[in-house]
């Protein structure tokens, strides 16, 4: 019998081979794809996420776990689709126009993926129009904007206006070193998070609630 605890452990250890094997075995044995996802993969990433928040492990270890999860997901995804299981949510994340800083944005993407989100990476230096276009083509329910320069913060406001004017209804969250909750309120974003771990909580609140 494939044990979901073994699967979660494989994710925690970043053991890609075992993660894929146990996933395959579980599916062969008829375990529901949803259960494999929640009790195996997401549970394992949850443990790593907690350890990271508690400063017990570092990002490289989280990334190794995330890669194991990704490999297992490749096996699991077709089954999830067959079973009609939707991802937690679909998000579109990018760095605003004029800004090339993307390490923070990439970490946010990684953490969202680890928590079951499907994420489209819009890249860097993304103009308001390009955000609108990508929001439409992806159908994302959540849009994340990142800015690290005081001189590109105004591009966030422009992007939000462009999205709203175009009738995009997705929730919008913002972040980056110079951003504050007050600024988020001012430009009428739906939320702000100071780091990648709290970005996940915020994303959950915004799309799942």
């Amino acid at each position: 019998m494939a044990d979901m605890k073994d699967l979660a452990d494989a994710i925690i250890k970043g053991d890609m081979k075992t993660a894929v094997e146990v996933t395959k075995k579980a599916l062969d044995e008829g375990v529901e794809p949803q259960k494999v996802l929640n009790d195996g993969l997401v549970a394992g990433m949850g443990v790593i996420g907690k350890r990271f928040k508690a400063n017990e492990v570092y990002i490289p270890e989280v990334l190794i776990a995330a890669r194991a999860m990704k490999s297992a997901m490749e096996v699991l995804e077709p089954k999830l689709t067959e079973a009609g299981v939707e991802p937690v949510g679909k998000a579109l994340i990018g760095t605003v126009q004029g800004d090339l800083h993307d390490i923070g944005k990439n970490l946010v993407i990684m953490m969202l993926k680890g928590n079951g989100f499907e994420v489209v990476d819009a890249g860097v230096d993304v103009s308001p129009d390009a955000f609108v276009e990508k929001a439409r083509s992806s159908g994302a329910k959540l849009i994340g904007l990142s800015a690290l320069l005081t001189t590109t913060m105004p591009a966030m406001e422009k992007t939000i206006q462009a999205l709203r004017n175009a009738g995009v209804e997705a929730k919008i969250m913002i972040g980056g070193a110079p951003i504050t909750q007050a600024y988020s309120d001012k430009i009428q974003a739906d939320g702000y998070a100071p780091d990648a771990a709290s970005a996940v909580d915020l994303a959950m609140d915004l799309v799942v609630a």
């Binding site: 400063n55 017990e56 492990v57 570092y58 990002i59 490289p60 990334l63 004029g98 090339l100 993307d102 390490i103 990439n106 970490l107 890249g123 860097v124 230096d125 320069l149 005081t150 001189t151 913060m153 105004p154 591009a155 110079p178 780091d195």
Partner: protein, 458 residues
């Protein structure tokens, strides 16, 4: 580069004094005995466009007026002003040059009216990565970069610097994965090759015009690592090792003719001073307005210029932030210079206090401790090319941290010790030969398409 250190004795490794002195601007002498404040500033939240341009100019006017007035009031003997362009100002060179002119004119007037000795450092921001993967040697962004460089003398810049980003396409990925081989590839292979090309170009221009080619910074690599470590994203020991790996890359600029002072955000500065004898600019506690660091005092121990890194032009209770920074730097430098005027024992005493107050507490501070800088520098220069030097830099930093944490000289957190072992294991697998490493890295699927080998002459 010669295989001996320019400074090889700890009693000669002093703040304010460098084997090669830089003379520039309005009677400024750097490394000749005095520590000089270097003030840096940036815009508050605002858009830079045609509509707003007058407002942008007003901001810089307000900044420099406030800063110069404060410097005169506090009788600052010599002042370095750094103007770092924002991307819009590099991409439209006439904008960057207009602000350069404005600052230079104000500094001229202040020299005439009040005798304030000063020099203006123009730091060009590297816009080449607006193309992804970046074109390093041609195309629109390279053209913009050259545009601002070529107008800099006429606009009144006394020194030129750049924070170049060659190799960063791999560097970011290397950092978040704590991949020491990829870090060495990013800095010691790609970075070093780009620096050779870029600095050859810059010094060629400087030789024609008399502007001083000052230095580059591994900010995009080693300071990113430091910020990531401050956020508990990566182990501090890794950030410390990356700092040392960045040394050979920054040395390339000097080999191509850069004279210093090296960039303030280049915390690798003490290594550059020991190895090449150039004066260095550093930042630490008085740059907390820009980013936090665990090296606030030790970074000052052997500096020649002392900087605030950057601060937005926003109002504080006393004055605008750049003026506040000016005051802080002025007092920092006064203290150091008065100690220096009492003689070498006083310099050494203050230097060692600065060093000892940080270095036992964090591996990143420890690798900046003057004694450790000399020990590792010696090993770096025994190697021939930037790749071998970077490999040696990583090996010696790892070894020193292991050795001295065992001896209780530097505190390393329990959950970081295993990282030192893991990094050591990674280092054992790296080839001695650069070509082999290049081969290995080109094979790695995650790096494919991230950078263009031909742009690095590969």
């Amino acid at each position: 580069m010669a295989n001996t250190l320019k400074i090889n004795k700890i009693e000669n490794f002093l703040y304010g004094k460098a084997p090669s002195v830089v003379r520039c601007g309005r009677e400024v002498e750097i490394g000749a005995g005095q520590v000089i404040p270097e003030i840096n500033f940036t815009l508050p939240m605002m858009t830079i466009d045609d509509k707003n341009w007058c407002e942008v100019i007003k901001q810089y006017e307000e900044i420099i007026d406030g800063v110069l007035k404060r410097a005169v009031r506090l009788e600052v003997p010599q002042l370095l002003v750094e103007f770092e362009t924002l991307p819009e100002m590099t991409n439209r060179p006439q904008w960057g040059l207009e602000i350069t002119r404005l600052l230079a004119d104000k500094m001229d007037r202040c020299y005439r009216d009040y005798g304030l000795k000063s020099a203006l450092r123009l730091t060009i921001n590297d816009v080449r990565e607006f193309n992804r993967p970046p074109l390093m040697r041609s195309g629109k962004y390279w053209g913009n970069l050259c545009g601002i460089l070529e107008g800099s003398a006429e606009a009144g810049a006394d020194l030129i610097a750049i924070e170049s980003t060659g190799g960063k396409e791999i560097g970011d990925e290397a950092l978040v994965n704590c991949d020491v081989g990829a870090s060495i590839f990013a800095l010691g292979v790609l970075g070093a090759r780009d620096m050779e090309f870029l600095w050859n170009h810059i010094t060629d221009y400087c030789n024609r015009t008399g502007v001083v080619p000052s230095g580059d910074s591994a900010c995009g690599f080693a300071n990113t690592a430091m910020v990531l470590a401050e956020q508990n994203m990566i182990p501090r020991v890794f950030a410390a090792i990356v700092r040392v790996i960045s040394v050979p890359r920054s040395l390339v600029a000097i080999r191509q003719g850069a004279k210093g002072p090296t960039k303030d955000c280049a915390y690798e500065g003490p290594y550059l001073k020991a190895i090449a004898g150039v004066p260095i600019s550093m930042e630490g506690k008085s740059a907390a307005c820009a980013h936090l660091s665990p090296v606030g005092n030790v970074s000052q121990a052997v500096c020649d210029c002392w900087s605030n890194e950057s601060t937005q032009n926003i109002r504080m209770l006393s004055a605008n932030a750049p003026t506040v920074s000016m005051e802080q730097l002025a007092y920092d430098c006064r203290l150091m210079n008065v100690a220096a005027s009492e003689g070498i024992e006083s310099i050494i005493r203050l230097r060692d206090w600065l060093s000892e107050s940080d270095s036992p507490l964090d591996p990143q501070a420890y690798v900046l401790k003057p004694e450790i800088v000399l020990e590792i520098s010696e090993r770096i220069i025994a190697q021939d090319n930037p790749y071998e030097q970077s490999l040696e830099a990583a090996r010696s930093a790892t070894e020193v941290l292991k050795r001295d944490s065992r001896e209780g000289k530097v505190k390393i957190k329990e959950n970081e010790l295993k990282w030192l072992d893991m990094i050591e294991q990674q280092l054992e697998t790296l080839p001695e030969d650069e070509e082999q490493l290049i081969e290995q890295m080109l094979q790695r699927p995650e790096f494919r398409g991230k950078f263009l080998p031909a742009e690095y002459g590969i």
